[in-house]
Amino acid sequence: MSVVDPIAGTIADDLPARPPSALRIMMRDRRAFFGLVYLGILLTAAVFAPWIAPYDPNAMDYMMLEAPSWSHPLGVDDLGRDLLSRIIHGARVSIFVGVSTVAIAGVLGVMMGISAAFYRGWIDTVIMRYIDLQWAFPNILIAVYLVATFGTGLLNVIVAISLAYLDDFARVTRGMTLTVKEEQYVAAARAIGCSDWRIMARHILPNITAPVIVLATVSVSNAILAEAVLSFLGLGVSSDTPTWGLILAEARSFITRAWWLGVFPGLAIMLTVLSINFLGDSLRDLLDVRETRDIP
């Protein structure tokens, strides 16, 4: 039913039927589509790993260093373990570490950034001095330093990577909060007597989520890379859990004889990182966020 107005013309015809959903927009972007599909497959494989993986990832066999074949699609490692099964199980650790570290770093970093910008004064000084210090070094190196002090193991690796990525979140949040807190709605909230906490949680936070979401997406890929690097260096989760970095570390002595051991685990890492970055780029366009930080 259209209402005809002599001046404005057909109002109802000018209105779009329904704004397209975020998911639909992203599916139209070819790279984001690839990313979503790959991550969907990866996530399914990780969750259902024990049922999907053709073999037990730690089961050894007499057929050692066997090239890819129908029974072992990605080949067999030096202890006769099926590479495909190990990579599928490795996805669990990568995804778990990637998501949990970003959740921790995100929550802590956002809290630090908002309170620094909101209160200013000595709180801001203390937080920013620390953030600046950490900023002087690449995150992956900070993670190595922290593992050096805490020791290895799943929990320590998660803590180390979380702390290493804290500064990015604190920095982005602080910058955004400094602008947002000058807005009239913040003054209005204060005028009607909202508590500091309520202003930060209900008025500032919702208005700075876009850049934080983009940063969080990109950080997941960086955290997955960091976990792989730590595992590869022998500073990772543990030597009996297959992770992508560990599989590569163990393969190092055999790559000249068994190329598949060096190629496939890294391919899994690269495709994951690539997919998440595609997704991040697409989100950046979708949420209209300026470049946050280009360098991992």
Partner: protein, 314 residues
């Protein structure tokens, strides 16, 4: 300008002091006594004796002061592992390897990235631009240590052109040095190269839109002169800032890639120190690696003021 440079040097000294202090306290406050790792299974009285000998019975702040004074003299203690060589000696042997690797990685990256970025900007939207953009994106998503493994598989195992692992000092001749380092340098420099190529491209696209480039074109300069004489030098300024930030990435990559190629540089020393719980070595390696970072950041800041006169106003 001198004031600015002095302020930056002061800032760098403060950062180094803060890193040293953090390293000292974190390794001591956290559970896990350095002596416990050292003594394995000694009896308690011997442990107490050693505790006194190393001054570990004294208040933390006194220990810190003594440690710091020794550090300023370049004494970082001895390795508690194996032959107990001084940490400073281990690091002096390792540093040139890491620095050579980082230096070569930097040179290779620049030599690839700048022409790639330039061509990409000048041929915007053409296949070559898409190609460069795609390769750069790939380079940023590839784990550096995996790239190292791929390079070994291809150039050392399959083709047999280059040695797979090890290091030769430059004093052994250029080719032995270069042939051992070129694969690790490529692995360590790829992400850096991708960042620089992207930056050169976007910076050139900005500059090509400016009025002075239009003027240069209008007065009939050859395209080569317009690009190399007018556009490129101005496009370089933001590239240098990014280079400074991304150099950290390159150094971090060098530290990781050393493990792939079995080069006993600072990164390898740090990792082995962590795995052996050799705290003096870990401390020393962290301090030296951090020092290189802080020094490079300082260098970039100073270089930036010299290159871009507009900053001096402030």
């Amino acid at each position: 300008m001198t004031g600015y440079i002095l302020r930056r040097i002061f800032g760098a000294v403060i950062v180094m002091w803060a890193v040293a202090t953090l390293v000292f306290f974190m390794l001591r406050i956290l559970p896990g006594d350095p002596l416990a790792a050292m003594l394995f299974e000694a009896d308690p009285s011997a442990a107490e004796e050693l505790r006194i000998k190393f001054g570990l019975d004294q208040p933390m702040i006194v220990q810190y002061w003594k440690w710091f004074v020794l550090l300023l003299q370049g004494d970082m203690g001895n390795s508690i592992y194996g032959s107990r060589i001084p940490v400073s000696q281990i690091l002096i042997e390792a540093a040139p390897r890491t620095i050579s690797l980082a230096f070569l990685a930097f040179c290779v990256s620049i030599v690839i990235a700048i022409p790639a970025g330039l061509i990409s900007a000048l041929r915007r939207g053409r296949p070559i631009d898409h190609g460069v953009t795609f390769i750069a994106f790939l380079g940023l998503s590839m784990p550096d240590f995996w790239l190292g493994i791929l390079l070994i598989i291809l150039f050392a195992a399959k083709l047999g052109w280059l040695p797979a692992i090890g290091y030769e000092p430059l004093s052994a001749g250029f080719w032995p040095w270069f042939s051992h380092l070129i694969l690790p340098a490529t692995a360590a420099g790829t992400a850096f190269s991708a960042i620089i190529a992207r930056m050169v491209r976007s910076s050139m696209l900005e500059v090509l839109k400016t009025d002075y480039v239009l003027v240069a074109r209008a007065k009939g300069l050859s395209p080569w002169r317009v690009v190399m004489g007018h556009a490129f030098p101005n496009a370089l300024i933001p590239v240098i800032t990014v280079m400074g930030i991304a150099f950290g990435l390159l150094m971090a990559s060098a530290v990781v890639v050393e493990t792939v190629f079995a080069i006993k540089g600072l990164g390898r020393i740090l990792i082995e120190g962590i795995l052996n719980r050799d705290y003096p070595v870990v401390q020393g390696a962290i301090l030296v690696v951090s020092f290189i970072f802080v020094f490079v950041n300082l260098l970039v800041d100073v270089l930036y003021v010299i290159i871009d006169p507009r900053i001096r106003v402030d």
